[in-house]
Symmetry: C2
Subunit: 384 residues, 2 copies
């Protein structure tokens, strides 16, 4: 095993960032291809820069974000957060009591780790399921959570979405929707309604996922709940800072539905190319992916590595040899080890898909050739 | 009572931000005077802007921050955080177990509320004192905390600082120093050593306090502890985002010790002017202040308001009538209600102190004239 715990994950991320830095400095930004689908952006007008002071910035930009954010997310009020994970933490700190129950329905397990972790922190009992028929709301439940679209872009069925909300509201329990990428994927690609319009009390999206915004979370919902959550957010330092709020505002304004829809079609082309050699790639709404488990099926050489290790190694080969950035290399601890090639982001637009296919093939060949040498694999993941 | 709880504090802050926005938009930025000492800044070179993407930004700027941050703070490694409060939360989540003890020594009570709040969250027992002779480290202590300089700029004695660290290390207990403003105040104005150089295992400073950086926290310390804390930071979304990291880097590079020293002298002039009419102002290292309790002594009309209410009202009068920003108006929940006029920030440099004195006098006169009318006072704090 190469990656054994969260600390190892932090270290491999640090190494990936060093490699990226080296590529930018020695070859240039053009030699990097961020296909994470999380590359976001930081769109700022130079004249806006001078207003980015501590107390002046939020006055201007948070106010403007109310209007633009509500248009994007629905709800009565929005609240910009440092990350979607910190928004989930703040919601659970605000609404969930010790020993109460939290139940979570999502299209496919596993849940984003910030949800069970935050429940553990407040001492709540956490239940999750991806089987609709098994979803129940026990007595003493303080919060119902729905994931709109999973980390691997599995989208919830809209009827099940509505039914879970109804079940919760019959018992007067608030509903939090983790709509990290779903706020755009569900609505633009699958024509579903906004979470708040479906009756969610609180919804939160990641402003760097499938849109040109900064890493950050945007929460929307009922005003009295948002105000209650905002208290915890300010107390523990979980809010988005003014430069990030400004970039959220401009990111939403520059969100282009057509790009999402184009990548929705273009992923079929990449999938067909990859399927000439591989059997285990799957389509996502805006690209292709291979899970760590399925990746292991493509490796015929014997080895002692975990499935996740294989994904981490492949992702470092892609980065070091071709400048292709995927989530396993740069992700935060607990992020999915699925290798996803997302075609909805700026770097992907001008990419020749035949060329990309060849680079992926040759990275697999390299993985195959080193997989029995654990020292060599460690070197690829942890050294520069 | 006007301000009764954290929710009221959030609402008065929102109103203050609306008032600031209105002044910027109708009169211009020049009509605002941010004397909080927290106005920070966001210094960014336009060529740096294009690198501010999710995974490319941290690769470049976090690496550069290591060098510059260690020079400013000491220690082996630095970690940029969304706020000092979130760094304190992460440290306590990482190092403090349920039912263990946390002891805190500071020059003057009260402690910053994020410390007891974070201890409560993990179920630890929290003890604090500002009397050195009473400071003890009981059995089963997991963390010793020292505040380098309080919210009201009371600075710890360096000998006591060293002794507390020795006491903790004799028992192998790590020491966290909350050096929010102290990292500059203690070192530049009082010639004390950096917290890490005095033996602290972890120190954290606010990059917007007494320097031209963004709101954010910069942690420094021993590499194995920083790595351990970084895991929680990434898990719960407490890290500083790339635009903030870049502004921290540039803020530290542009930190000018002379400005701090100049304000250290200029505050005597303001203090003398104010003391012609008032008896209860006190000097801070870089300005003057009046606590809520002392402010109450200056009010002769009878009323039913709390001391803190008086400070909030005065701070809204200063803002609405003269564009003078002080912490009680814009502070986060739990921030000190002390009215401080800090002379170390950019807006203060060109301010005529005779003129400032007259504006403060006339704001006090207005407070005096409305203090018996609670409805009128509420209107000033909560309406636009």
């Amino acid at each position: 095993m190469i990656i054994n715990n969260s600390l190892d994950e932090v270290k491999k991320r640090e190494n990936a960032l060093s490699i990226i830095k080296n590529i930018v400095e020695t070859k240039g930004r053009n030699f990097l291809f961020d296909l994470t689908g999380l590359s976001g952006g930081f769109i700022v007008n130079p004249s806006e820069l001078s207003l980015l002071e501590t107390y002046v910035g939020p006055a201007i930009f948070e106010d403007a974000l109310q209007e633009v954010g509500i248009e994007h997310m629905g709800g009565e009020k929005v609240l910009p957060l440092n990350r979607t994970s910190s928004g989930i933490l703040a919601t659970i700190l605000s609404l969930v009591n010790e020993n109460s129950n939290v139940v979570h329905y999502l299209a496919k397990l596993p849940a984003h780790p910030s949800i069970p972790r935050s429940c553990k922190l407040v001492g709540a009992n956490y239940f999750e399921t991806d089987i609709f028929e098994e979803f129940k709301i026990p007595d003493n439940t303080s919060l119902v959570i729905i994931t709109g679209s999973t980390m691997d872009h599995q989208v919830i069925d809209e009827n099940e979405f509505k039914q879970v909300i109804e079940m919760a509201h019959e018992k007067n329990i608030p509903v939090l929707v983790d709509d990290a990428s779903g706020a755009r994927l569900r609505t633009v690609v699958y024509n579903q309604k906004k979470a708040c319009d479906l009756g969610a009390d609180i919804a939160i999206t990641s402003t760097d996922k499938l849109m040109p915004g900064p890493r950050g979370g945007l929460m929307a919902g009922r005003v009295e709940l948002i105000d209650q959550i905002k208290v915890k957010v300010n107390q523990f330092g979980l809010e988005a800072q003014p430069p990030v709020v400004l970039a959220m505002l401009n990111g939403i304004k520059n969100f282009n539905e057509d790009n999402l829809i184009k990548s929705f079609k273009r992923k079929d082309e990449l999938f067909d190319l990859l399927s000439q050699k591989f059997n285990n790639f799957e389509k996502t709404p805006t690209g292709v992916m291979i899970t760590a488990e399925k990746l292991a099926c493509e490796i015929s050489t014997s080895h002692n590595l975990s499935d996740n290790d294989l994904a981490f190694i492949l992702s470092f080969i892609l980065l070091k040899d071709y400048g292709i950035i995927t989530i396993p290399a740069v992700g935060m601890p607990g992020a999915s080890a699925t290798i996803r090639f997302d075609l909805s982001t700026t770097d992907a637009f001008n990419l020749n898909l035949n060329d990309l296919n060849k680079k992926i093939e040759s990275s697999f060949d390299k993985l195959q050739s080193i997989v029995s040498n654990e020292e060599k694999c460690k070197e690829i993941v942890f050294t520069f």
